[in-house]
Subunit: 66 residues, 6 copies
């Protein structure tokens, strides 16, 4: 019954999402919540749709590349 929504930057591979989802299911299991009860969703958004730590994410990435 827990619903886990993961808003994340676009671009992870399906394999990466699968590995992360399985690690999270295991995290629930370790805390006595059966993974069969859990729904996990990835909601991906492109870099232009994020602002973090006071700046657009796209600008942050440009600055770091310099």
């Amino acid at each position: 019954m827990p619903v886990v929504k993961i808003d994340i930057l676009e671009g992870r591979t399906n394999e990466q999402k699968e590995k992360l989802a399985k690690s999270i299911m295991q995290a629930f299991e370790e805390n006595q919540i059966p993974k069969e009860w859990v729904t996990i969703m990835f909601n991906e958004n492109p870099v232009e749709n994020w602002a973090v730590a006071g700046d657009m994410l796209s600008e942050k990435i440009k600055k770091e590349k310099k």
Copy 2:
């Protein structure tokens, strides 16, 4: 003023989404909440972005097809 967000597997047709949204608006009406107050959003994610009932949805579908 109620906001209804429906996270759903990608792939429904526009007609299916419209029918479902109208059925949900009617569900509010039947419960004395005017449909004019309600905002409904569909948020679609591909099969690779879901884990349900202990497994990736994509794996579940593969198994069922066998």
Copy 3:
């Protein structure tokens, strides 16, 4: 697997929430999505936490009472 999150003003009775949830489950059934697949959550917030149609909801209600 569809997840339906309903953000709604605090104050509905449990009976009202149950009726509305059941109407919504039926709305999915009418559209060939089994209600057993659906998770519905009500997320209630007090009147002070909403702004709608250009004004705080609490102010709107005050004006309408006049």
Copy 4:
């Protein structure tokens, strides 16, 4: 630490999203919440995925064009 999720109709340019995100960061600053603490996400959905004010958004737009 505040997380601001903006569900919005698909189609804004990156420049429009950036301007809006910056205006919102400033709105937090004006209220003594440093913009460095804030995460903003735009979640865009196409016109067919919205129902507002009692009708599908796509139908509303058609009617207004007439």
Copy 5:
């Protein structure tokens, strides 16, 4: 930058939430996403606010107790 929102039934202790959050942060670390980037939120709702697998959660619990 990933934002993880966990909608969960009300009633976990603070210790349980802390343990689960730390397991989830570790799940990200194991997948090459530094835990420092991750924001986790628990959003708790009472049993009357959930419908799962075709029934109100409160009814399901009553039936299981019988």
Copy 6:
């Protein structure tokens, strides 16, 4: 039609939430989106329900007080 959901630490006064909501409505206006179209919701969660930057928020606050 834009829906703005602000997940925020519990404890702001109603006056603070009102001021912030009005600043955000103005941010939309400045970007040619009428505030009448916007729905804003504050979703408040207690300090024990947050993990940020690699640690529980409650632990972070304890450390900063030392």
